[in-house]
Subunit: 304 residues, 2 copies
């Protein structure tokens, strides 16, 4: 089983309007409600691959109950007193997003979640920790979860950013997926438009105790600095579509590869094909397995 | 008792952001949830005046329960299966609004509401019908409610717009408060920037069977074409602030005057002072009674 963790899940509302004009009133033509959260996307992609995944995390209040109702993946969430946040995305062709800050989580609720997570780790092969932290959680919350996974002998992927990522690096996650800002922060002198620059920044991050650093180059694919060497993986051709959720599909593919003990070149081939298939999918956060399979053959992985 | 009707109540969400930039993501710094709906504002203003008011209407789903929790006025709402709409207002100094369309109401739910409303009319002196109609209600829904009020001998104020207003005119509401668009529609040749033009349009509306037509001239006050003659009422001085809710305060003042059998000049003095006090209130939809009383002395009402 692959365990995905979403500490700051959301009730995602998508509003369609004709055209967003600041400081005007807009009639929303259609409202779509979805269970939102990067860990939920990871679990959904895993389910598409026929993989056994369980989503856990924190849910609370009316929005939390609604998210639980909308969940389309096996899940065991901890209930909290605070209200799960909403995200509102206004679509007028392009998307404008509004992210609520999320609930305050008490120390007792956090301790109770850590117990639940630790119990789930006993039956997990890989743990994936995704997204932002809600208010009230210590900044090193992910460090606690990474340490628990390592203690349980479960490989752990951490896909977050900012202080939540910084504070968890020394706990030694098996893989992190920093964005361009984080790479620039650890290696301010590196030219991130070059492969060498990205490798220098990735090496600086690995020096904190991280196993693998996976750097996305958008449509150009991935660069991975792993304990077994550095790799570059590129899709057969550019794929157009919605990049939302491509990172979650990438992480899901790596988690699946690890669960099946697939070595690096194959894991990266899967990751690039899954990202591209997610971009091509009409629904953000979803993925078509046939597209994945047809793209996978063409992914070029080279050791660098 | 004054009965206020809100058929399309809302869970009002106010999001504060630094600056709204279309096609970007925004972190919301604070979220405020309120029970929204013009009839609720009317009931709130009446309660501020120490007047007995009961709010009724339709509420459903999780949003409806949240509205019920947030309600700060006596109320007897009908529960429906559909989900009460949300409104999202993004504030970055100025306000940008997004209105969800509202629930679909079944014929059975509507019949059940009409029964409840008819029962409440037996103990009401005035009924106030405010705001838009949710989907699934017949366009003449307000005509049904106006007719029921007249049958019960209860004076009825209708504050709506568009087809919902047009379809209810012939049922003979005792007062309507058309906006500039509606006045322009019934009297396309009238110059609405002049008092005579407004009176011509009001006369055209009255000819449909309406008792009184109340036309707002914004900061310049009101023009009223009543069965007892035409009046003009102006505040002592311009008041700056938030005009949201000023119309509801105006309607509340008229309903209160009618409940106390106050003749027209006094009723219009109250209406103008209440509107101005609502504009001056720091909270939209609220009103300070002391400001109302201090403004009231200075309102000039002239028969025209």
């Amino acid at each position: 089983m692959i365990l995905t963790v979403t500490l700051n899940a959301a009730l995602d509302l998508t509003y369609e309007v004709d055209a967003l004009v600041p400081h005007r009133a807009h009639r929303v033509s259609t409202v779509v409600e979805k269970a939102g959260g990067k860990g939920l996307n990871v679990a959904r992609v895993l389910t598409r691959f026929g993989e056994k995944a369980v989503a856990t995390g924190l849910l609370g209040g009316r929005n939390g109950s609604r998210v639980a109702e909308l969940l389309d993946v096996p899940n065991m969430f901890e209930t909290i007193a605070g209200e799960t946040r909403r995200t509102v995305v206004v679509v007028d062709g392009d998307a404008t997003g509004f992210w609520e800050p999320g609930p305050v989580v008490s120390a007792e609720e956090w301790a109770s979640f850590v117990d639940r997570y630790t119990a789930l780790l006993k039956v997990a092969r890989v743990a994936v920790l995704s997204g932002s932290l809600p208010a009230g959680l210590p900044v090193d919350a992910y460090a606690v979860l990474v340490t628990a996974a390592r203690t349980a002998g479960v490989r752990v992927i951490l896909d977050t950013s900012g202080p939540a990522l910084d504070a968890a690096l020394r706990a030694g996650p098996d893989l992190v997926k920093p964005n361009a800002e984080e790479l620039a922060e650890v290696a301010p002198d590196a030219d991130l438009s070059t492969v060498d620059g990205v490798l220098a920044a990735a090496a600086a991050l690995r020096a904190h105790g991280v196993g693998t650093v996976l750097a996305s180059r958008g449509p150009e694919g991935l660069i991975a600095l792993t304990p077994d060497g550095a790799f570059r993986a590129a899709p057969p051709h550019p794929v157009s579509g919605n990049p939302t959720g491509a990172g979650d599909a990438c992480v899901a593919a790596i988690a699946r590869a690890w669960a099946h003990r697939t070595p690096w070149p194959g894991a990266l081939r899967d990751a690039v094909a899954a990202s591209a298939a997610a971009v091509a999918a009409p629904q953000a956060g979803d993925l078509d397995v046939r597209t994945f399979l047809s793209l996978r053959h063409g992914v070029a992985v080279t050791e660098i």
